[in-house]
Point group: C2
Chain length 519, copies 2
Amino acid sequence: MYMTQSLHRSMQQRPDKIALRFNGQSTTYAEFGDRVARLAAALRKLGVAEGERVAMFSLNSARYIEYYMAVPWAGAVLNPVNIRWSAPEVIYSVNDCSTAVLIVDDPFVDIARKVAAACPSLRRIIYAGDGETPEGMLNYEALVADSEPMEDAYRHGDDLAGIFYTGGTTGVPKGVMLSHTNLVSSSCNQLMAGTLDEGTTMLHVMPMFHLACFASINGVFLSAGTHAVLRAFEPGAMMAAIAETSITHVLLAPTMIQMGLDWMGSNPGRAAHLDLTSLRSIRYGASPMTPTLMARTRATFPHATFTQGYGMTELAPVATLLGAEYHTDEAVATGKIHSVGRPVHTTEVKIVDEMGNEVPRGCVGEIAVRGPNVMLGYWNKPEATAEAIRNGWMHTGDGGYMDEDGFVFLMDRIKDMIVSGGENVYSAEVEKALVNHPAVAQCAVIGVPHEKWGEAVHAVIVLKPGATTTLESVRSHCREQIAGYKCPVSVDFREALPLSSIGKVLKNELRKPYWAQPA
Amino acid sequence: MYMTQSLHRSMQQRPDKIALRFNGQSTTYAEFGDRVARLAAALRKLGVAEGERVAMFSLNSARYIEYYMAVPWAGAVLNPVNIRWSAPEVIYSVNDCSTAVLIVDDPFVDIARKVAAACPSLRRIIYAGDGETPEGMLNYEALVADSEPMEDAYRHGDDLAGIFYTGGTTGVPKGVMLSHTNLVSSSCNQLMAGTLDEGTTMLHVMPMFHLACFASINGVFLSAGTHAVLRAFEPGAMMAAIAETSITHVLLAPTMIQMGLDWMGSNPGRAAHLDLTSLRSIRYGASPMTPTLMARTRATFPHATFTQGYGMTELAPVATLLGAEYHTDEAVATGKIHSVGRPVHTTEVKIVDEMGNEVPRGCVGEIAVRGPNVMLGYWNKPEATAEAIRNGWMHTGDGGYMDEDGFVFLMDRIKDMIVSGGENVYSAEVEKALVNHPAVAQCAVIGVPHEKWGEAVHAVIVLKPGATTTLESVRSHCREQIAGYKCPVSVDFREALPLSSIGKVLKNELRKPYWAQPA
């Protein structure tokens, strides 16, 4: 198995089909494949050897998707850069895995210069913008035009395909090494779940450096569908793109969906002209969707179904899926909707105790995962790898339980669990109770230091527009649903929660003011 | 990836779902998995080591499916025996791969004794029938009852999963070594093609030793569907089983479908009471289906769609699929219906010349295949392996061409090609012309010795009931469709064509009388 095989397949079977739409331009599979094979040749001419790293530091674009195919085509290794990172973080990662070439577009040219100055391994910078090529950099289009297409290098199987940095918000970033088999098996699981097909046109609106987006890109390639690209997330642009390019599939964090719907409400004139009937699949992750948000989404996208994915970069990235059939009123009634679904086809999940033994169904433990999607390991971090992968099982650090039907219910990161007065409190459970409060729009629960109990349960709340409430009201509301020791003992009201690039609440940011040494 | 993971998945997620129906009895996934783990333990207790071969010589049964899961669960290697084989052939294969244990049912007890006497590696024979256990054999049910379930041995990836003998009708049988990855990737391709789902109940009516049937079994396991088993093919029993167990999927050779429909015509009384509306998918292979047969089939199974597969044991076994969407009137008009479809998702196909270079689209060459489904090699036959797999590509020995859309059109086995007066004649092309003749029901075209031309085109024809025709009529009919040198110069009329266990015409049988040394 090798990553670019999906592209070869469409070049062979559907050369005239539209592979990609971006900025009003369309590219067929034959044209796209030709550009990929030329860019690959250009990288080789620049001295990139098999297995060497090539980084991309860019907003979303057609060229980003070319990069994702050209680097493995050349036999090199992908290293996409987190666009939220500051120069020192980029420099750390580029040095960590000795990246040889960096491709950048306009917003990142200045940081790229700093990176070049601080990274001895970096031999070349390629400018992938549409303006004038900055001094000292090579022009992406010129490289493509000046190179003859090369044969695919055909690295495959357990060969390293990419290094994807994770954990930038919680300590030192770790480079997750994913093989060709990791990435292809992940695509296969998407197709086996029936969520993608030849008729798919997927809008890529999540930041492309993120593995969730890259995995979707690979899935669309394997299904011989069509890519549509939005440069970055902006609610109005997203809604317009869905209507204008007849998007069928989209991957979003629930917060992004909410922002899209809010934009519709604030722009009724423009919204009224959008035909949103083409959308038939919304994949979401990072956090659950409330029934209210689902109902609002359905009202706006009449043909959309929902699929929730759970996973992490180390799992390439999906471990479980909650399919469309579990987003119904019945699933709400049975509670399955609160799960992250069941293990995907070739992936195994079990819940284990601290000794690695499986716990009974319904008991909370650590989620462990085995399968062809489990990473090769962390780059240059054999101890971290040995700690994460034991007996072939990736220990996710996530807490959860499995019900009798194999549905996984996520609690917290094990290390995010609050230990208050000797009792384990899972913030997810508290948040689930809190979010039903009539005044609460969003919330996050963390542990804060407490002299007597060690930690105390603390809630950070974003109120609905115009709403007010009190700690007492919040506590009594929670008390009806969960045990007293789990209810918040203090509360903060805020305008917004700090979010990561993919819409996850950054709990470390919330914790910082309370702890001298952030956990 | 490992073969039994599909079973573990259903045991975890759907323990109470019916896994298997046979002889009026139903087994849940929990029960089935328990029996598999016990049988695996019994094999280990008998001294079967990891990687050792366990053979099965039986008609279809629930126990056959248990065997297929228990042997890999025990860490051993499958070696299913062709039920058409004579004692010397079975002895050859058991000695060839040093099989340790043989499981037999009633029809094969006598041959099994001869095999035991002639095969020093064979330590035990297990009787899997329902009668009294023959002397010197162990009882299958007693072994299952007396063993405690063992943990899965978890052989996986490139580990050998089974040895499947092929070519028994054309010279010395070769043991095709398939790995766990080979078999799982084949199942994944079935699911990605959308031909199987959780609602599948598949009737296994092809002989189970055959990889086509085994691959279907694996596909049903991965989709968490239900198996239904018919002991052997018999047209009336098959039609009754489809109605009585609400079969949704079936895999058949076109000749078997025809026999089923003929049975309906000859038994109108019984046929009238059968509800055949549950059947929604007919997978066929080995030979194409005529439009007439398709129309008759649709009239009988109103909800059935068709999928054609092409492959071979060495490809675990599927390389291409012609999906339901290419069994329409439009596909007849475009000619796509005459193809064997396009490469499956993770499998690559190219048409090559004698030097291994890809030929232009539309040109005939040898079909070559690469992907995770390509066998590890032939057991103990490194030369044959090196000849078949070159640069990672399995050279199938089948002739064919690919059109501009990636559809593969099968001609002949390269070695079955007729060379007449220096011209290459593909019997498939002649047969396609012949079968339209109003008097012809079935036909096969072979090369026979000719003093002047080397070989001459010879047709063997089965006439429609009551029909007659002449060589001249046949020739002039063909001449309207194909070049003169391709038209038959001689013809034989027969009652029936000799068929293999999966419905392939045995051309070697037809050739024998004409050649001193059969090709």
